[in-house]
């Protein structure tokens, strides 16, 4: 299939030592890890009703409650009303990255339609300067999710990759990931052979 030299060149000489079955096993193992991650993500979307059930805090505007790299779990159930004091994640037209801020004003009409205003705990002013031009209020459809759970520090890898985009293409980073996968794979194999 591949010459031994080319495999060595790509740093995959391990593969040349495997027979066909082992190769397939390694590939399926990898596919398993990727697809189960995807399944968990999509499953969470269904259960929470939010298009992005887990977000990493990217800015310091909610300090000292949330720091950069903290992880938030979101839900977005239609029947739960928006109330003052809760922390929502919303998207603004013209901004790609969703914002995590606290609701400070709510006006709800008889038909249930609602407009509200947000502010970051660490900011001095409300978010009207962040909204789209001429937009004074957020509405229900702007909400991506509402913060329900908090775990500190876990999303720090995202922050590091955002701050140093070069890291994404750097070899040590992918080497580490590859080693991790191989390690998991070998561990399983060893256990299976035992």
């Amino acid at each position: 299939m591949f010459s031994k030299e080319s495999l060595v060149f790509w740093g995959l000489e391990d593969l040349s030592r495997m027979n066909f079955r082992q190769l397939i096993y390694q590939f399926l193992n990898f596919a398993m890890i990727v697809s189960s991650a995807l399944m968990i993500w999509k499953g969470l979307m269904v259960v929470t009703g939010s298009e992005s059930p887990i977000v990493v805090v990217l800015s310091g505007s909610m300090e000292p409650a949330f720091h950069r790299g903290d992880l938030l779990f979101l839900t977005n159930y239609e029947q739960e009303p928006i109330r003052a004091g809760e922390i929502v994640v919303f998207k603004v037209e013209g901004r790609e990255i969703p914002i995590v801020h606290r609701v400070i004003k709510v006006h709800e009409k008889d038909d249930g339609s609602v407009k509200f205003l947000t502010k970051g705990d660490n900011n001095n002013v409300d978010d009207r300067g962040l909204y789209a031009n001429g937009q004074a209020w957020l509405t229900r459809k702007d909400v991506v999710g509402r913060a329900r759970g908090f775990v500190p520090f876990v999303g720090i890898v995202t922050i590091i990759m955002n701050d140093y985009p070069k890291l994404k293409v750097s070899t040590p980073f992918w080497d580490y990931l590859a080693l991790l996968f191989l390690y998991i794979g070998n561990d399983k194999k060893r256990n299976a052979l035992r």
Partner: protein
């Protein structure tokens, strides 16, 4: 003979344990221990009661009818008042409370809206800081703008203090303090200049 083989195997195994494998093992153990402790920290405080007494009072209540140019040119009701808030929040703290976010809300019904909630004042109390709230005759931190002209002569605006508990790890519950204040607005707008 058997013993020799086993000893050899152990030796080879030890040699195979490279620095990377050791590092990996140490990191994995640390991480799983931290994860377990964090979960215990969350589980041990999940059912806690975070309620306590609050006393709220308001004074110097006046009402203006002026445009909020950030929103529109139309005139809206603007309530101006001074507030007193007293509460001891020390008992709310435990090992899974990193911070309390206190906020004073005015809630009322108006012609335009079935429900209005306006946060008038807030405060962050971090763990270790003094958690005894005693503010007297303090002006509002945020403007009390109504969405329209719903505050004129309003006799039933409820002021209450709530807190959002920010844990070290876990859920983010919001609790409303026991003790509210019923605020009434005058049925005339003031024409005087007022200090906010």
């Amino acid at each position: 003979m058997n013993l020799l083989v086993i000893a050899l195997k152990i030796l080879i195994d030890l040699a195979m344990h490279t620095a990377f494998a050791r590092l990996n093992a140490v990191c994995a153990f640390n991480l799983s221990t931290l994860a377990a402790l964090t979960f215990l920290c969350f589980a041990s405080t999940f059912f806690n009661d975070y309620n306590t007494q609050v006393s709220i009072n308001a004074a110097n209540v006046v009402l203006k009818n002026v445009p909020d140019y950030i929103v529109s040119r139309e005139k809206n009701d603007l309530g101006i008042l001074k507030i007193d808030v007293t509460s001891d929040l020390e008992p709310l703290f435990n090992w899974n409370v990193k911070q309390l976010f206190l906020y004073l809300t005015a809630e009322y019904e108006s012609k335009n809206n079935k429900l209005n909630q306006v946060v008038l004042w807030d405060k962050i109390i971090k763990r270790g800081e003094k958690a005894l709230i005693k503010i007297k005759n303090e002006p509002l931190k945020y403007y009390f703008w109504d969405d329209g002209n719903g505050l004129l002569g309003h006799k039933n605006v409820t002021l209450y203090l709530s807190w959002n508990i920010i844990p070290n790890a876990g859920t983010l519950p919001r609790w409303v303090g026991t003790g509210t204040h019923r605020l009434t607005f005058p049925s005339e707008y003031t024409q005087m200049r007022t200090n906010f």
